[in-house]
Symmetry: C2
Subunit: 149 residues, 2 copies
DNA sequence: ACTGGTAATGAAATTCATTTTCAATAAGGA
DNA sequence: TCCTTATTGAAAATGAATTTCATTACCAGT
């Protein structure tokens, strides 16, 4: 399945928010939508540069800011930090990240109501939001690991 | 309740792992164990400096590394990054962070077995670990907010 | 207690990610 | 097509974190 329509959708959304549709932005959005793993800004920059060697790292940072404002991408947190970003799918889904190759898939754990309520009444806090990520090995990396043993 | 015994416990644990018990380390550990909120290295540095003006920021970073190795502290993730650390309590507890004042309490959501299993069978991943944090308003900040309206 | 070997320290220098500045460029409405 | 203005990339600046290194101070062995 092509990501083409989704790319246009994102660009139109940028436009609807007062930003212009530019070539660098198109390239960045395409790379973001194509990637199966969360990318560091500099990785994204490298990927974009393969298609447009003039594209600058600063533009990557700026475009990421804009896309984050529009809630189209999200930071991916890992044990050692959270310097990678990935496209956000539909609404509030959570990420499952392969700790070996970085491949990322989503799942929707939407049964947090009861947990939230329980914690709220125990602590007196009002719970507004949550962050959940799972870590593990993707099927490919399980195989790779088994073979190397 | 005093944190004194816990401070000593941590220092002994450092010693048991080949590190020496030093004054800067004691100060840093005491500040970490006393704080109700997750701290940035530079905040911790400021707090320690009030008690020992000669203590260096580098030592803070180094000591944090060591404590993280020993699994005594954890990074606290927020919407905008994860540059703060906090003491880890007993085993695998999760954090509830006040987005207004930063106060942090723990809760134990230990019913992730079923979620893990479900996601694992849906995705083919092996799930090894998870990260969960809740965000909200602590009782004090709820009050403050209500009063200001 | 004393001493010697060595880990730990703080200051300064360095690295690296991110942000700011600014002149040149290009999007897109008139 | 022209004109305004957002956008761009290069370079400079910032700021967090790390490395280097001479000095300090733990602490094991006496």
């Amino acid at each position: 399945m092509s990501v083409r329509p989704l790319v246009n959708e994102w660009l139109l959304q940028l436009q609807a928010n007062g930003f212009r549709i530019t070539h660098p932005r198109r390239v960045i959005v395409e790379e973001l939508l194509t990637s199966e793993k969360a990318l560091e800004p500099v990785d994204l920059y490298a990927a974009c540069r393969r298609r447009d060697p003039k594209l600058g790292l600063v533009t990557v940072y700026r475009t990421l800011d804009q896309l984050e404002q529009l809630d189209l991408i999200q930071r991916v947190h890992q044990a050692d930090g959270c310097h990678t970003v990935m496209r956000k799918q539909n609404g509030h889904e959570h990420l499952l990240v392969c700790t070996s190759c970085g491949k990322t898939v989503t799942f929707c754990g939407d049964n947090f109501e009861s947990l939230s309520n329980q914690v709220a009444s125990e602590t007196g806090f009002t719970v507004k939001d949550h962050m959940l990520q799972l870590f593990g090995l993707c099927p490919d990396c399980q195989g790779r690991k088994a073979r190397s043993n």
